[in-house]
Amino acid sequence: MGAEILAVKRLRKSFGAVRACQDLSFTVQRGVIHALIGPNGAGKTTVANLLSGELRPDGGHIIFAGADITTLKTYQRARIGLARSFQITQVFEELSVAENMALAILANEGGNFRFWHDALCSPVVLERLPLALERVDLVAQQKMAAKHLSHGERRQLEVGMALAGRPTLLILDEPMAGQGPGGTRELSRIIKDLKNEVSILLVEHDMQVVFSLADHITVLVNGACIADGPPEAIRQDAAVQAAYLGRQ
């Protein structure tokens, strides 16, 4: 396998007259934190949804780990190692934290048409649950229903769940959205720690976070890529400054 984990080729998507994604191409290398940034309405979440399979592109291709996944459905992409978190946290509200995490572990394991034994006592859960909870600092909260967690904890849970399936690429859609300074720090630390196990595509609005975390940055404006390179180059890019940084 090559050094690329993800290649996006001339991806297009329109909603009526709005072109949310215009001939977008970029590649994500293995083992890096790749940031996708852009001002509000640049089409960042559309790209995340196209990559995870919730939206169908009008044209173009998505190559993941060497295979064309453009026509695969969301759950099929997840099965082959493409995990994501959502801009608006998506967890199983009515289930406990432990059940949420166990479900994430089991979902990727497959073979869940088992009707008799207690899910939380299955060997794979017993083996991996403690570590999975520890990694996102939720050991103490494991018996709580997810809906009773704080905003930051829910986000931690969601990231933990995305990781539970041992993905090769993790798409984080605005993980810092709505976080206080404490939450941002905690999440930044978690994301940095992940770098060695999983490639990350970080879709983010918060510039400070992006420049402190990312190894490579793609800048999106009006659904098109206007710059692509390492953080230093992006910081100095005139087009980026005009379109984005200038307004900060």
Partner: protein, 327 residues
């Protein structure tokens, strides 16, 4: 073992059902045995519906279809056994419960597989309407079955035979129903806590998340739909035996609605609650009907109050803390 209020209620319930026949006989109230037999059969159907409503969040308004299918399998097999003819030209009739009841369960499950596979292409309001439409379709199909009595229904001259037991005997039949209801509920409590159950509960709470985790949620929902249909089919088979009569009314959406009321009254997503709901529903029907044929006028407000003031119906009220979901 830690005794929670929940366990207490469940053990109490088991004891109640186990001791009801001797106590009722002692006081000479034999009709109570039949009444509670019916209640247990309805409970079985209501619990199966609770799997759909409470755990799979699939609002089906066509659950009676599977009760009806189960009942008609028993009725039709009886009909062919009685006049020694063949169904579809090659299937002989039977009065043997060990043949007919599994057949009823199987046919209902297959019906649920077909109806579920088509209905689950939709969700929300469309799902409600499509399940209702399928059930009504089957209702009119049954009405049109001239050979099997059509509108008038199909009488059976006696109940099925079960080796070693006499199902015509009130007590025997009562305990057979008690046994089957208990086994079904026990299996359901295991089911909702199993890996399948956890994935199902996840799929019903958040579709986006479950898909992003790599789960094809529809197949889990479909399996749940089939299991619920099978349970309802068993209830239908028992109901046919209880009344020794099968009619299109068993497929009517009115019955689907009644089952739904039992689930809501007893406690959605509690499995044991629907049993309470079924018992209460039949008791109220029985006793309010003595005073007025419009007993629903009095029952309606009771239901509204229970649904508005409790989180998980009467069962949730008894258990405290709103009852549980995971069993």
């Amino acid at each position: 073992m830690h005794i929670t209020r929940e366990r207490l209620i469940v053990y109490g319930g088991v004891l109640f059902f186990a001791l009801l026949p001797p106590v009722a006989s002692f006081f000479g109230e034999h009709y109570l045995i039949s009444l509670f037999t019916r209640a247990m059969i309805y409970a079985l159907a209501a619990v199966s519906l609770d799997l759909l409503l409470g755990y799979g969040k699939m609002i089906s308004l066509g659950h009676a279809a599977f009760v009806g299918i189960g009942a008609y399998v028993v009725g039709i097999m009886f009909f062919h056994a009685a006049d020694d003819s063949l169904l579809f030209g090659f299937i002989g009739g039977s009065e043997n419960a060990l043949v007919v009841w599994p057949a009823a369960v199987l046919v209902s499950a297959m019906g649920a597989l077909v109806i579920g596979a088509l209905s689950l292409r939709t969700s929300g309001m469309h799902f409600i309407m499509i399940t209702l439409a399928f059930a009504q379709m089957l209702f009119y199909f049954a009405v049109g079955l001239e050979t099997y009595g059509g509108d008038d229904g199909l009488p059976m001259w006696n109940r099925n035979r079960l080796a070693g037991l006499d199902l015509a005997d009130k007590l025997h039949f009562y305990y057979v129903c008690f046994f089957l209801m208990s086994v079904f509920i026990f299996c359901c409590t295991r089911l909702v806590r199993s890996r399948f159950g956890l994935v199902l509960r996840g799929a019903s709470t958040n579709t986006r998340r479950i898909r992003a985790l790599g789960v094809h949620d529809v197949s889990y929902k479909l399996v749940c739909f089939v299991i619920a249909g099978a349970g309802a089919g068993l209830a239908g088979a028992l109901l046919a035996n209880q009344s020794e009569f099968v009619s299109p009314g068993l497929l009517h959406w009115g019955l689907s609605g009644e089952l739904m009321v039992m689930v809501l009254l007893g406690g959605l997503g509690t499995l044991f609650g629907p049993v309470l709901g079924a018992v209460l529903f039949l008791l109220l029907e029985e006793f309010l009907a003595i005073y007025t044929e419009h007993w629903m006028v009095y029952f309606g407000p009771v239901l509204i109050i229970v649904v508005l003031t409790t989180k998980r119906g009467i069962y949730g009220l008894l258990v405290g803390g709103g009852g549980n979901r995971g069993g």
